[in-house]
Symmetry: C2
Subunit: 346 residues, 2 copies
């Protein structure tokens, strides 16, 4: 049991009641009244007493009422206190752990697939929305570059990074170019650009490569233009999102307009920035307005990271209503991100 030292302002009983109330509200989605609390077996005082305590908790800003004579609902401050001090991690049942492991039973030949499946598992088991951010292109380095000719004028330029990520661009080469030239170009690129960070490719191309190219390749300008274009990386990172619709069944989103605006937020790029703005290490929770992004004021965001061979790779996020099953989600996101890291590492 918790002792009152956590916060001088709150008595043990108040802590206890706050915890009960949040737990209750999280499952019922209805304002919690004193009577319903008093009915519990582990509560040994009367509704009137509870009313007094709740009134105090409200005065301190941990609880709110939806109208003058309604039951209480946790405020954001209440949730914050709850997740900081009252969160008792929940154990998954053996069945659940089994089911999760089961989802990873098959062999994954594409890393993307593994990440996608993780998003799926997480959204399914939490019943909220899961978003996975892959490694940022910023952090990747070039491993290998390759050109496959499709026909006389077109080819596919394939760029593989050290993390195993593959980008491909269709290019149209100048007619004047010869097959040997293409090979030469690719060789030069591989030679000079290996291990260069992806975001520096273009700069390096201009600085160091251009001289060598000029010597060896005819029609130098056109080729450089072509390469210039192909080495532009626009997508900052890969994103997988699963269970976008889960959140809609929550009673707080019965309003069609809310649904539309939330879905738009989930599909926009801003949500990615919001997630990236979370601390890059450990598990973090942002509740309601703590999120800077407009449109998710009624949501909470929980994030943690995953890695490959110890190296930070990306972020796992779960978005649900403020009224979220925090203990369960915290456990799940932690478990799943570990499983993902294991799978990526081996």
């Amino acid at each position: 049991m918790l002792t009152g030292v956590i916060n001088k302002m709150l008595t043990d009983r108040q802590l206890f009641l706050l915890q009960l109330l949040v737990n209750d509200y999280v499952v019922s989605a209805e304002p919690v009244g004193s009577r319903s609390i008093a009915k519990r077996d582990d509560v040994h005082f009367s509704p009137a007493t509870i009313r007094n305590e709740l009134a105090d908790l409200e005065e301190m800003g941990f609880l709110e009422k939806t109208h003058l004579s309604s039951g209480r609902v946790p405020s954001e401050k209440g949730y914050r206190f709850y997740v900081d001090h009252l969160l008792s991690p929940v154990l998954l049942t053996e069945d659940e752990v089994g089911n999760i492991r089961h989802a990873y039973r098959k062999k994954f030949s594409e890393k993307e697939e593994l990440i996608r499946v993780t998003a799926q598992v997480l959204s399914e088991f939490t019943n909220y929305t899961a978003i996975m951010l892959g490694p940022e292109l910023m952090d990747m380095r070039l491993k290998h570059i390759q050109m496959v000719k499709l026909n006389q004028t077109q080819g596919v330029l394939i760029i593989v990074t050290d993390t195993g990520h593959v980008e491909n661009k269709t290019v149209t080469f100048p007619k004047s170019i010869r097959a040997e030239d293409i090979e030469k170009i690719i060789n030069i690129l591989n030679d000079k650009l290996e291990n260069v960070p992806i975001y520096r490719l273009q700069a390096r191309l201009n600085k160091e490569i251009s001289n060598v190219m000029r010597l060896h390749i005819r029609d130098y300008n056109r080729v450089m233009n072509m390469l210039q274009e192909s080495l532009t990386m626009d997508d900052p990172e890969q994103i997988f999102c699963s269970g976008k619709n889960n959140i809609l069944v929550q009673p707080e989103f019965q309003d069609v307009n809310k649904i539309i605006s939330l879905l738009n937020v989930l599909e926009g790029k801003e949500i990615v920035h919001e997630i990236m703005s979370m601390p890059a290490t450990g598990l973090h929770i942002r509740i309601g307005r703590e999120n800077k992004l407009n449109g998710i004021e009624d949501c909470s965001l929980i994030t943690t990271t995953y890695s490959m061979g110890g190296e930070h790779l990306g972020t796992v996020a779960v978005i649900g209503p403020k009224r979220m099953a925090y203990p369960r989600v915290v456990t799940l996101i932690d478990t799943v991100s570990k499983i993902l890291s294991e799978n990526l590492t081996k």
Copy 2:
């Protein structure tokens, strides 16, 4: 003007009224009454006359009432007749054509991007949902295969098809294998598998390659297993979907449960099958229950195809409510698919 010969059952005036009514209902989303039709400048008969005509049209099954004393709404048969005989194609304004062209102004280095943008344009200009099906893997042939080693035990296997599509798989190779071996394997594969249809890769691997491999490669069994796995193609095709949320603002989807089930359908695989079940050539419209797929009984599906250099490549689809702006969508989907084909071809 249309003449009555189209269908012996309907007089010119009935055709005219049916067209008016559909046009009106499509924009208003409200049952159309005789009075509101009579008020139009181009209508020269009284509400009573119109009521008689509408009653006849209803008897013939082209119209419906939502309740005993409501105005009329087109039935599915009514829509069907409308799109078959009364659809007058609409011209886009110069502004619109300009805006569409504008969306394609930038150079596309990835074919996928071009298709994605097309989905976006289409959903934006129709205000419905656009779905693009890429070329089926079935129809592709192997152009080139390539292995990039990431470290001692892992590599990325890259598969390029004749259409310029790139698949990549992360593989873990047996420790015993040597660098030269890998090169040898890839050479054998490229040699023997070029131009083989993607879906036959595995079969060919077993039949013709296995002998050659056995001769040249040590640790034959493990290598074969690895390749076996890597050449499994699970995704039948690429899919781009844009504007999933557009459809939700339509008044027929004010019900949250309808929204959820529709979104689930749009995200599922069945919708792809539904689209693939459309005739593979020309423009086609399926109205409401004409769609076999459960969950889109209240929607209409319009599809056409796009191509690259004359060769059929994929399908463009728009999903909206039955009460759809058919003339506009038909024009748009037609225009856009042509622009896409042009862009792919050049």
